[in-house]
Subunit: 367 residues, 2 copies
C-alpha cells in the first residue's frame, strides 16, 4: 500500500482541528509539467475520497492510467505544457502521505491511534507542502467531490493564495444522507472480524468489509438511469460462454452484481480500510458555514479568488442544489463566481468521465 512516491517531510509538526498534533508529517505528491521561474503557474488539484496523487500517471498498485488522465496532460484541458500541476495525497490517506498505516512516533503503525483529521487539516498540510516547494500563490486550485471541499476550505483558509478556485460535484457541507452512506461503509469495515480495532497490519486485512463499503459507495457514484442503461436487469454470461440464466442461488447472476463485486474486490488491493474510516470521517465533519456562525458567505469574506462551481444534473450525492448554495454564498461575499450545471448520464462520476461541456468549462476557467 505504501509507495516510494515523491514525498517531502514537513519541517514542523502540524496542529490539527481536534487539538492533537501530527508529527512527523510526510506528504507524498506528484508533479506534472514544469514550474515556471516565477513559480506562478501551479494548478493544485485536490483528490477525492478514494483518489490519490496519481492524476495523470499510472497508478503504482494497479497500473491503470491516472484518475484524471483525460483532463490533465500536454495539450489537455489542464495543459501541462503551460501549467505545473501538483497533487498531494491527503493526510490520513494510504498512498505515501502520513496516515493510519504509517509508523507513529513509537515506531509502530498508528492504526486507530491516528488522530481524526478534518478537511481543513488536509488542506493545511498541503499548504505547507506548497510553502516547502516555494509556491506562494496558485494559478488555480481545483477539486471534485471531496477535492471540491478541499478547494473551498483552501479558499477560506487562504483567501488570497489562489487566483482561481474550481469546485466540481461538491458541497460546502456533507448532507445527512451522505453521512448515512459513509456510516454504513464504516460499520461494514468495523464489522469485519479482521479489522480488530484497526490493528490488522500484521495479519489479514478487513478486505471483505472494505469491499462492502466500496460497493455501497459505488452505487451512490452512479445515477439510477446510468445503472439501468449500463446493466439493466441483464444476466451475466456463464463462464462457459453460454447466455445468462438465473442460477437460483447466490452467485452474481446479474451483471450489476458482478460489476459491484469487481469494484469491491479491486478496491481492497489499493486502499487501506483505516484510511477509509478516517477520510469519510473528515468529509462528514465538513460544514464550512458552521465554522462561520452558520453563514457560509463569511467563510469567503476576504477572498480575492475567482470561483467556478460545476454540478451535474444526475449527481444525487452532491446535487445541483449544493452547488447553488455555494454560489449564493459567494455572491453574498461579493466574490466573482460562475456556475454551470452540466448534463451527464454518469451521476456523481460525471466530473471524472466524458461529460459534454466539461472540458470546455475546465479549460476556459483554468486558462
Amino acid at each position: 500500500m505504501q509507495d516510494p512516491a515523491t514525498a517531502l517531510t514537513l519541517p514542523d509538526p502540524l496542529p490539527l482541528d481536534s487539538g492533537a498534533t501530527l508529527s512527523p508529517v510526510r506528504i507524498a505528491y506528484q508533479q506534472y509539467g514544469e514550474l515556471s521561474p516565477a513559480r506562478d503557474n501551479v494548478v493544485l488539484i485536490f483528490h477525492a475520497l478514494t483518489g490519490d496523487q496519481y492524476v495523470a500517471s499510472p497508478h503504482p498498485a494497479t497500473g491503470k492510467p491516472g484518475w484524471w488522465d483525460r483532463m490533465v496532460g500536454p495539450g489537455k484541458p489542464i495543459d501541462t505544457d503551460r501549467f505545473c500541476v501538483i497533487c498531494a495525497n491527503v493526510i490520513g490517506g494510504c498512498m505515501g502521505s502520513t496516515g493510519p498505516a504509517s509508523e507513529g512516533p513509537g515506531g509502530t503503525r498508528y492504526g486507530q491511534n491516528f488522530p481524526v483529521v478534518t478537511i481543513h487539516d488536509m488542506v493545511r498540510a498541503i499548504a505547507r507542502l506548497l510553502d516547502a516547494l516555494g509556491v506562494d500563490r496558485l494559478h488555480a486550485a481545483v477539486g471534485g467531490s471531496m477535492g471540491g471541499m478541499q478547494a473551498l476550505a483552501f479558499a477560506s483558509q487562504f483567501p488570497s493564495r489562489a487566483e482561481r478556485v474550481l469546485v466540481l460535484a461538491s458541497a460546502a457541507r456533507q448532507s445527512a444522507q451522505n453521512i448515512a452512506f459513509h456510516e454504513v461503509g464504516r460499520q461494514a469495515i468495523m464489522a469485519d472480524a479482521n479489522w480488530k480495532g484497526g490493528e490488522y497490519y500484521d495479519g489479514d486485512h478487513p478486505d471483505a468489509g472494505l469491499a462492502v463499503a466500496r460497493m455501497a459507495a459505488h452505487i451512490t457514484y452512479l445515477s439510477e438511469a446510468g445503472l439501468t442503461e449500463k446493466f439493466g436487469r441483464r444476466l451475466q454470461q456463464r463462464p462457459d460462454g453460454t447466455d445468462g440464466a438465473k442460477s437460483f442461488g447466490f452467485e452474481a447472476d446479474f451483471e450489476v452484481e458482478s460489476y459491484l463485486r469487481y469494484q469491491g474486490s479491486g478496491f481492497t488491493r489499493r486502499f487501506d480500510a483505516n484510511s477509509y474510516l478516517y477520510i469519510t470521517r473528515a468529509m462528514d465533519y465538513f460544514d464550512l458555514a458552521e465554522e462561520h456562525g452558520g453563514r457560509l458567505a463569511d467563510a469567503f469574506a476576504s477572498t480575492t479568488s475567482r470561483f467556478c462551481v460545476v454540478s451535474f444534473d444526475t449527481d444525487w450525492l452532491y446535487p445541483t442544489e449544493e452547488g447553488r448554495h455555494i454560489v449564493r454564498a459567494l455572491n453574498a461575499a461579493g466574490a466573482p463566481v460562475s456556475f454551470v450545471e452540466l448534463s451527464s448520464p454518469y451521476g456523481h462520476d460525471g466530473f471524472l468521465l466524458e461529460t459534454p461541456g466539461l472540458d470546455e468549462v475546465v479549460q476556459g476557467f483554468v486558462s
Copy 2:
C-alpha cells in the same frame, strides 16, 4: 426467531419456479376480523421484505404494534369490523413459515440448502393457504413494496381470484439500482465471519453483517429531504446530557449515525440473516414482463380484477415512474385501474406512515 404463530401445513408439496419442490410447507398467518359465512369478505395483505404477518397486533419478538396498525383494525381504513384481514408470512421468511431456519426433511435446519424461491412461489404458497381456509375469492389483495409485487403476481397467476388489487410503492420489476442495494446487503451478511455459509444456527449469528445490510437498506427507505429534516447534521447529545460535540473519533457523533446503528441492531433481534438473503433474491428475480415475452400487459391479459396503483413522490426506491409503467400495462390489458401519486416527506416508507390522502385512497378503494 421461530414463533408459535397461527400456522397451517399445506397438504401437498409446493413446486417452485426453480424446479425444486418444497415439502413440508408451513404457512404462519394472522387473521383480523371475522370471516363472513359466504367467505367473501377477505382482504389479503402481502407483507414487505422485512415485514411479517403481524399487521395489526403486537410483534411477538419486539412487542411493538403491528406494522400497519394505523391502517388495519376496527373502524380503520381497512375495517376489520367489515373485513376479514389475512396476512401470511412468506415462505423463505423467519416468522413461522417454512424458511432457511426451518428444519428440512433430513431433520437439520435448511440454511443455504433451502431452495431459492420467487415472488410467484411465495404467492402460490399463500394461495394454497386460502384454499385450505376455503377462501375462493378475495374482496381485495393489498400490498406495499414487495407486498405490491406479490399482489401483482397474485393478479397475474389468479386472474379472477381478487375483486380488487391495491399496489402501493411498488414495481412490476426490480431495477438495477435496487438489485445493487440488495447485493450490498447480501455481501455484508456473507462477509460476516459468523455467517459460515449459512450454517450458523447452532452458534453466533451474523448479526454485524445483517445490521449493515439493514442500515444500507434503511437509507433507501427514506428520502434525502426526509433525512435532512429528521436529522440534518445534528450532533448527538452525550450520555451525560451535555450538548453534542464532535468526538474526533468513530463513535456515533451525528444523530443520523446513531439512528442507523439503532435500526441495524434492533433488526437483528427479529430477523434471520439467511431469510434476508432469500427474500432479497426473490425480489431481484421479479420481472413480471419478462415472464410474458417482455410485454407486461400480457401478464394481466385475462384479469377480472379492478386495480389501484399508489406511488409516493419522494420514493426513490420505487419511484412514480414504476407505478406508471404498471398502469400503462393495465390500460393496455383493458383492466380498470386508478392511479394516484401521493405527496409525502417519507420516501418509500410513505405507505407505512401518516401520508396525507393515503387513508382515503385505501379506504375508498378497498370498501
